[in-house]
């Protein structure tokens, strides 16, 4: 089993590394942009999955952190070479500055929202996270200094070791690098004792409390980590699209991220990647076929939720088990 896993991972990595060549040969070159977007969204979805899938905190406000990441890049870009932001922070267009800034901002906002929201649970938690995200959404809509509803256009993507971040292939490898680093860290987090506590909280919070572990603090840490991840994704997305707007903060974006997690499989490591891929490919494919693609997307979502338990990962695992004649995991 262990051997097979290693083989699978190596195969997956090879496919990812060969993606530009694969797309050149079998797909169109615009498909590579789609693939980059899938990786970026999967970072956001995997961050949400950390709190939602492993920690059992159903946050309907992750667009907030995603959007903060985007705005970190946008605002730093707008101040680049001009007045410092708030008279203190100089602008920048270096990826190695903007990404950490985005993660810091995402984490800080998550700390604030999480510290307040985690005092509630259940339906109230879903709604209060939604409420905070909506507040940020309306705040940025009304913020005329940074484009208001229209957002900020980032004319030139960030600098990164002199690479040309307009070239699709270069962008792919840069995004892939960040994605791999993120997934590695996430893997370590989930496998750590912290990850074990988090999973325990989901199963039985009271028992964990009885073991002397303070649920609130652990959940808050997870929430902050998750916010940092979503911020990273937002910053990368702003660079990919060369644009940031309140749209990134809208509550339907939170629902989209949640959809990706559920499509892929809640609480599975590669589920968010599969979910993001499925969602974005469906969106692109249906969008090309009909103007009313959301209708069909809705039907497919409904079928997945009602028909499968555990999303695509469970579906694939089930099929795999049937093919190889083994028992379902």
């Amino acid at each position: 089993m262990e051997k097979r896993k290693t083989l699978g991972l190596a195969l997956g990595l090879a496919v990812l590394l060969a993606m530009p060549w694969l797309m050149e040969t079998f797909g169109s070159s615009s498909a590579l942009s789609l693939a980059s977007r899938i990786l970026v969204y999967s970072i956001a979805a995997a961050s949400l999955n950390l709190v939602l899938g492993y920690g059992g905190m159903i946050s309907l406000g992750h667009a907030a952190f995603f959007g903060m990441g985007g705005y970190a890049v946008g605002i730093l870009y707008a101040h680049n070479g001009g007045d410092p932001f708030l008279g203190l922070i100089p602008g920048s267009n270096h990826l190695l500055v903007t990404l950490p800034a985005a993660m810091l901002l995402g984490g800080a906002v998550a700390a604030l929202i999480g510290a307040l929201s985690l005092r509630t649970s259940g339906v109230q938690f879903i709604m209060i996270t939604l409420a905070f995200a909506q507040m940020l959404f309306f705040f940025f809509v009304s913020l005329k200094a940074y484009g208001g509803e229209d957002g900020i256009i980032i004319r030139r993507p960030n600098e990164f070791f002199g690479l040309n971040l307009r070239d699709r292939t270069t962008v792919w490898y840069v995004v892939l690098g960040f994605w791999l680093a993120f997934m590695l860290v996430l893997w370590r987090v989930i496998g750590s004792s912290f990850g074990a506590v988090l999973k325990g909280m989901k199963q039985n919070e009271r028992r964990m409390a009885a073991m002397g572990l303070a649920p609130y603090r652990y959940k808050l840490y997870a929430f902050i980590l998750s916010g940092m991840g979503a911020g990273l994704a937002g910053a990368l997305m702003a660079n990919l699209m060369r644009f940031t707007s309140p749209d990134m903060l809208h509550w339907t974006k939170s629902a989209t991220l949640m959809t990706m997690v559920i499509l892929g499989g809640v609480g599975t490591f590669f589920g968010p990647l599969l979910g993001a891929a499925a969602y974005l490919i469906l969106e692109t494919w249906l969008g090309g076929l009909t103007e009313y693609w959301q209708f069909w997307l809705g039907l497919i979502l409904l079928a997945v939720v009602l028909g499968t338990k555990g999303g695509l990962v469970a579906l694939v695992a089930g099929l795999w088990a049937r093919l190889t004649g083994g028992a379902r995991p």
Binding site: Q124, I126, M135, S142, K144, G148, Q294, F295, L297, V305
Partner: protein, 304 residues
């Protein structure tokens, strides 16, 4: 002073509208434990069905029963086909499934009726403003909405507190499992509650058509505000939904009406308007966050 009174009435009207939506949603939350993001779609269905029927018949009042029946039937169908399978699932599946319903409803309406807003007319008898107090001139249509909302509130009060169904509803909101264990046909109760919520949403949608606009996406805006009302009022509590609805309706209207003006005293007009409206939009969410921090279960907790 007149201006404040006028805005208070506007706030009351908006609050009553929110209550019509929240009453159904809070029962569906409280009794079935289902988060229904598609409640706004029922609002939209009622608005479209009623407005189109009224335009066809040339009579505003025809629209009311049509809106109620259309939304009620849509609600029953949705309950039978989708919601029924979600009772035993966790909130996550419910959010996603009803989000899918929302997408389907929006796109369906866009496909069949189009993106253009449908014009909704105020009945001729209610079109001209009347003078309520010396100097306070007010459109009577909004007064009719307030009256309708208060009537529904009274009716619900009677239904919940004085009838057998109401007793079951209250029992269900307090302890679902116990009601089932006592041999009540909980499925039927669920269907009744969902249908009731749907037709109230349809009524709210139709009545608010002439004031806002009958268009795709009208449901989402009111949906989010309704969620805030439900959570602030306390999940499962009709009384909470009523008071929270009115409170939030008034607060939201007041902020929108007066905040830009206040900000203009300290900053340039164009920025003040944008920021004022932005902060006013944040107002109800801020209020909800405050309430939840002080009372994590909302103002009125069902069954206590």
């Amino acid at each position: 002073m007149i201006l404040i009174l006028e805005q208070l009435l506007n706030g009351l009207q908006y609050g009553v509208m929110l209550f019509l939506m929240a009453a159904g949603l809070t029962l569906i939350f409280g009794i079935m434990g289902v988060i229904n993001l598609a409640h706004g779609s029922l609002f939209m269905v009622g608005a479209y069905a009623g407005t189109l029927a009224a335009a066809q018949a040339g009579n505003f009042w025809i629209g009311i029963p049509v809106a109620i029946v259309a939304a009620g039937v849509a609600g029953l169908v949705v309950e039978a086909v989708v919601i029924r399978r979600l009772y035993a699932r966790d909130h996550l599946d419910q959010v996603l499934a009803t989000f899918a319903l929302l997408l389907i409803a929006n796109q369906g309406v866009t496909y069949f009726i189009g993106r253009q807003p449908v014009p909704a007319n105020i009945p001729a008898a209610l079109a001209s403003p009347i003078e309520l107090l010396p100097g306070l001139i007010y459109p009577p249509y909004r007064l009719v909405i307030i009256a309708a909302g208060l009537l529904v509130a009274l009716g619900l009060y009677w239904l919940i507190n004085r009838t057998r169904i109401g007793m079951l509803v209250r029992a269900g909101a307090t302890n679902r499992e116990m009601v089932r264990a006592l041999g009540v046909d909980i499925r039927l109760l669920y269907t009744v509650v969902f249908g009731l919520g749907a037709l109230l949403a349809g009524l709210a949608g139709y009545l608010s058509g002439p004031i806002s606009a009958v268009q795709v996406g009208m449901g989402e805006q009111v949906l989010l505000a309704t969620f805030v009302v439900v959570v602030v009022g306390g999940v499962g509590s009709i009384r909470g939904a009523f008071w929270a609805g009115i409170l939030l309706g008034v607060v939201d209207t007041m902020l929108r009406a007066f905040l830009p003006g206040l900000l203009r005293q300290v900053m340039p007009a164009s920025e003040a308007d944008a920021l004022g409206i932005g902060i006013a939009s944040m107002g109800i969410y801020l209020l909800m966050a405050l309430v939840l921090l002080i009372r994590p279960k909302g103002l009125f907790v069902a069954g206590r």
